[in-house]
Subunit: 119 residues, 2 copies
C-alpha cells in the first residue's frame, strides 16, 4: 500500500453492499470503502468517532433525533457513543475512517458484521 489509491476503482472491487474493504492506513486508523444500499443496523461505537465521506450517491445517517443526508463531497463525523444507522435508498459509495479493530456493527453485532480485509 505504498502507491496512490483510486477510490472508485477500489469500490469496483467490492462484491456487495455492506462488505467493506480496507484501502490503506493512516497510523493506527484504517481507510475503508463500502457500498451502502438499503438499511444497515442501529449501533454505536463506545470508543471512537466514526468518519463518513460520500463519494457517490446519497447516504442518510439516521440518528435518534434527526437524519443527516449526505451527497457526494459531503462528510459527517458521528461522535463516539451516538447511536446511528446508515441507509441508502439507492446505492451510495462511502469512505469510512476508523481505528483499526473497530467493528462495523459496533455494539450491535449480527449478520452484517464484517471481517477486516484489505482490497
Amino acid at each position: 500500500m505504498d502507491d496512490k489509491v483510486n477510490l472508485a476503482e477500489k469500490i469496483g472491487l467490492l462484491e456487495e453492499p455492506y462488505v467493506p474493504g480496507i484501502v490503506g492506513y493512516l497510523n493506527d486508523y484504517k481507510l475503508v470503502v463500502v457500498r451502502v444500499r438499503g438499511e444497515f443496523v442501529w449501533h454505536e461505537h463506545e470508543d471512537t468517532d466514526d468518519f463518513f465521506l460520500v463519494l457517490e450517491g446519497r447516504l442518510t445517517i439516521q440518528l435518534r433525533d434527526r437524519d443527516i443526508v449526505l451527497s457526494a463531497g459531503e462528510m459527517f463525523v458521528v461522535p463516539r457513543g451516538v447511536e446511528h444507522c446508515p441507509r441508502a435508498d439507492e446505492e451510495a459509495h462511502v469512505l469510512l475512517i476508523e481505528p483499526r479493530g473497530t467493528v462495523n456493527t459496533g455494539d450491535a453485532g449480527g449478520e452484517l458484521t464484517a471481517e477486516e480485509r484489505e482490497i
Copy 2:
C-alpha cells in the same frame, strides 16, 4: 461542528493557497481542507503519517525517489518520516487528515507555516 460538512463550500471559504482550514475532528485528528497552487516546501513529519485526498484538480506529491500524481478521487498516505513536497501547477483542492497539533510544514518551518484555525 455537529452538522454535515460540504467540502466544496468549505474550500470556497479559503482566502488563498496553502492557508488550511479545519472543518472537523475525528477523535484527536483534524480534518483539513486546503487549496494547493505552486510548490509547497520539502518537509517530513517524524511522528505521523499524512493523508491526502484530492477533491478537485491535480496534485503532485513529490517524494525524493518519485512523484505521486493524484487526480480527484485519488488518495495517498505519506508514511511518517518520509520527505515530501506537494505541488500543483494548476490549483488543486485537497482534504488532509493529521493528528491535531501537526504543523503543516513539519520539520521545515518557514513562512508557509500556518496556524490551526477552524473555518
